[in-house]
Symmetry: C2
């Protein structure tokens, strides 16, 4: 009996069976064993340093899958049919002469990479005070409940409901759950044909822009605002009009005239976190009707109000069919599964559904079904409740720390959000602060790229608190406050030393 | 103790616990119970007709999730904090006056719904002989293996790898598995930055068209061919040039000149199923270089060759960087999870990745991870092997039946595919055949919409065999053959009775 020396460095990140199986599949495909028997279970177990039973289980599963056959008294062999499965020999492998390549730069009609995005520091975890935004705490994910729903969706009897895909429909159960358990809480009554499942808010906005944008169509967007939306609209060929924002959200009146679409975040304005009150909501809708524009409502952060009840969505006040509503589960559950939804006139939803068909058919049907179960079993609501409690505690610590340590700054007080928007003392740029903050283990985000105009203020920052540990919040804000004071002082000293001419 | 009459119609489609839990969550949210205790476990069990244990488990899980509290000796009550959770009252509910609504018809820049698609009969299952295409047999889905991988991806230690989402990256493990286990089998060597994960072939083509199409850019596409691609290119604003196809796939030479992009399906041409031979592949690439066009290769149905080995992908012969390769797991595993991939120059992939970011960020990260595990454990390969065996048997039955019963038709012999493309006798239209076939319980697909030109032949049909049961294939083809003969005979008789003037 021939024996092979097999070396598998086992680690703790996945089960031994899984690691051994993966390695054996690789070796089999590389034709390592030929027509010789694999090492016996006992030998293999010794070589790798696991129990014989582990090896036997792996061998048996490889027999089930047609990789191995067991021959009485001789051991396990590679299945003879596998000979035909080897990789195709390479026709060439020399590098391509660049002179013969197409000129991709000239062929591409746009350069999406040139649009600025918020740069997230991938190494944030190494910093003791990461005041970054948009982080999901993996330990808060309702793992047990999600797994239960995933297990149900993947049971034999349920499989036919998603394995074939939905062609261009959505999971009717997810539509029902979103209507009855999510939209109803926002005061929105929508029929099934007025709801479309998407791959998140960004995808909803992209589909809408693709269908509605054109060079003669103006989109009004909040300034400061959601930077990616500006790029999406530009990619789709429409001009963008920046709209002024105050402590009540987007300002009404003259600036909205001439807009065909007005994008707003009434629950918490992105990024200032202010809430639009009921009166302005009603006045906005009245103006939409009078001036014939359509409002796109991103119901961003509607879940996180800590000191008062949330207001009903703008869409719930809409008596003229002038609001397109978009929401998602990215912030409230996880961005990983990419589930969002939009509510609009059924004529529009019908065309968006067809357009979505050409883009990508439908959001993955297994995720739609698992999410539907997750909501129907009450897990979504209880998760949001739990999350709100966790964040409320941190938010109150942030409030406390900011009022104690962050001096001479403009701080908008709001009823809740996942972040704080702070105007630094004039002449203290966010860039200067970011640099010295990073030296002190503090990560904050510059607001620069959230403004549209070239000569925008350079002294705004955003402080998120989902990533930072509660115990570190006050400490971090104390250090940050000291750094802001120091920068403000330097500027004052500098301007005293060299007075303006 | 107050008691409620609770009526739950239990069915067998999901577990009793799951149904009772869903119903109770509904009742709790409708404030059915107020501050009264819920029926005792024993009473509830009697009312619904399940064991007391089932009720206790549901009650306990609702306590865990914060819906109920247990009070000693008094029973289970709705959690007092839930009072704040009721739905917002509706501001209005009267229908919107249509005169005040935006004019959506005028606002939409395109009408995607006006593009013709293949109409799939959703009631196909009621027909004894469904020769339809694109059906996935749910029983063939490797359920046990998929669940195992999903369980691993959803384990506590693995969660952080997908719950946060990938921003605009892909799962590096999925990229590695696709490179080493799927692309290598097609003879393709690709670096990590030359591969992009997408939501399937359609999505790959949409992203490519968005980036590359313009009114001065011509896309040559096969005729007959993939109808959705024609619509995608039109939606993106480029002219489409129909390309002639023969028994070796798309014809080379004059017709390709003036094309900036040439879309081909070399493994099995869609829908004629013919394979492009090695000589034509090499000549196509030479012409691409000489005439400066780029080839988009959809490696459609490369898995299903029954009488000879598959040829390496066109991309594997590509020495001038002129091939963009697209593939997917929709046909080989399931369209439900929406996983596809493309291979191209890294400069192009870099921009496509950014564009994808604006479209929808990334394909859901849980599905990417589960798929990576599924491939790494050897399950994907063994599934494809099993599937090939199943389809080979059916394909041979189809061959046999067609040669026995389908007379006077043009039948292209090929090495394999999931379907057969058949030219009926001249003057027998697919439309006429579809009508009488349906009366006889036979579903076939008309080829009409797969041709681009207005005056295209009307006598082509496509016969799929994934949905029909093996036992019914010969029987169904015998009946179909009879119907074709009958229609051909009618035409002959009719033309004899009324000779041309």
């Amino acid at each position: 009996m021939t024996d092979f020396l097999i070396n598998i460095e086992l680690h703790d990140n996945s089960s031994f069976q899984q690691q051994i199986r993966e390695k054996l599949v690789q070796l089999i495909k590389q034709d390592t064993f030929g027509d010789k028997p694999l090492p016996s279970g006992r030998k293999m177990a010794q070589m790798i340093g696991v129990s014989r039973n582990t090896i036997v289980l792996v061998y048996e599963s490889l027999v089930d899958e047609g990789y191995l056959i067991a021959r009485k008294r001789s051991g396990f062999f590679v299945h003879p049919d596998l000979a035909f499965e080897s990789s195709i020999n390479l026709v060439h492998s020399e590098p391509i002469a660049s002179s013969r390549k197409p000129n991709w730069c000239k062929r591409m009609q746009a350069k999406p990479s040139e649009f600025t995005s918020l740069n997230k520091d991938k190494n944030w975890i190494k910093n003791p005070y990461p005041f970054i935004y948009g982080h999901i705490n993996v330990n808060d994910f309702p793992l047990y409940q999600w797994r239960e729903c995933s297990r149900i969706a993947e049971s034999r009897g349920k499989l036919h409901e998603w394995v074939e895909g939905f062609i261009d429909m959505d999971d009717p159960e997810l539509i029902a759950q979103i209507r009855h358990q999510i939209l109803s809480k926002r005061g929105i009554v929508a029929q099934s044909d007025e709801v479309l499942i998407t791959l998140g808010t960004q995808n909803s906005l992209y589909l809408l822009s693709t269908l509605l944008a054109d060079k003669d169509v103006t989109f009004g967007i909040e300034n400061p605002g959601y930077v990616e939306l500006r790029h999406i609209i530009s990619l789709c060929g429409s001009p963008v009009k920046p709209l002024k924002v105050d402590q009540g959200g987007v300002q009404l009146g003259e600036q909205l005239k001439g807009c065909n679409y007005v994008f707003v975040t009434p629950s918490h304005q992105y990024p200032t976190t202010v809430t639009m009150d009921v009166n302005r909501r009603k006045a906005l809708l009245e103006q939409a009707y009078q001036d014939n524009f359509v409002v796109i409502e991103d119901d961003y952060e509607s879940e996180v109000n800590f000191i008062e009840e949330p207001l009903p969505a703008l869409k719930s006040f809409d008596q003229h069919g002038r609001v397109i509503y978009v929401g998602s589960l990215s912030k409230s559950l996880t961005p990983g599964i990419r589930i969002g939804y939009l509510v609009a006139d059924k004529e529009l939803v019908h065309e968006l559904r067809k357009l979505r068909h050409f883009h990508y058919r439908h959001p993955p049907s297994n995720n739609q079904r698992t999410t539907a179960l997750f909501i129907s079993q009450g897990y979504y609501d209880s998760h949001v409740r739990r999350m709100r409690r966790t964040y409320e505690e941190k938010w109150r610590l942030m409030q406390e720390g900011i009022s104690l340590y962050i001096k001479n700054c403009h701080i908008q007080s709001t009823a809740g959000s996942f972040c704080f928007w702070i105007g630094l003392p004039e002449h203290v740029t966010s860039k200067a602060l970011l640099a010295i903050a990073a030296d002190n283990g503090i990560l904050v985000e510059s607001g620069d790229s959230l403004f549209i105009e070239e000569d925008a203020p350079k002294n705004y920052i955003r402080l998120g608190f989902s990533a930072i540990h509660s115990d570190k919040i006050l400490e971090g804000l104390a250090i940050l406050g000291g750094l802001i004071d120091k920068l403000a002082q330097q500027k004052v000293t500098a301007s005293l030393a060299s007075p303006a001419l």
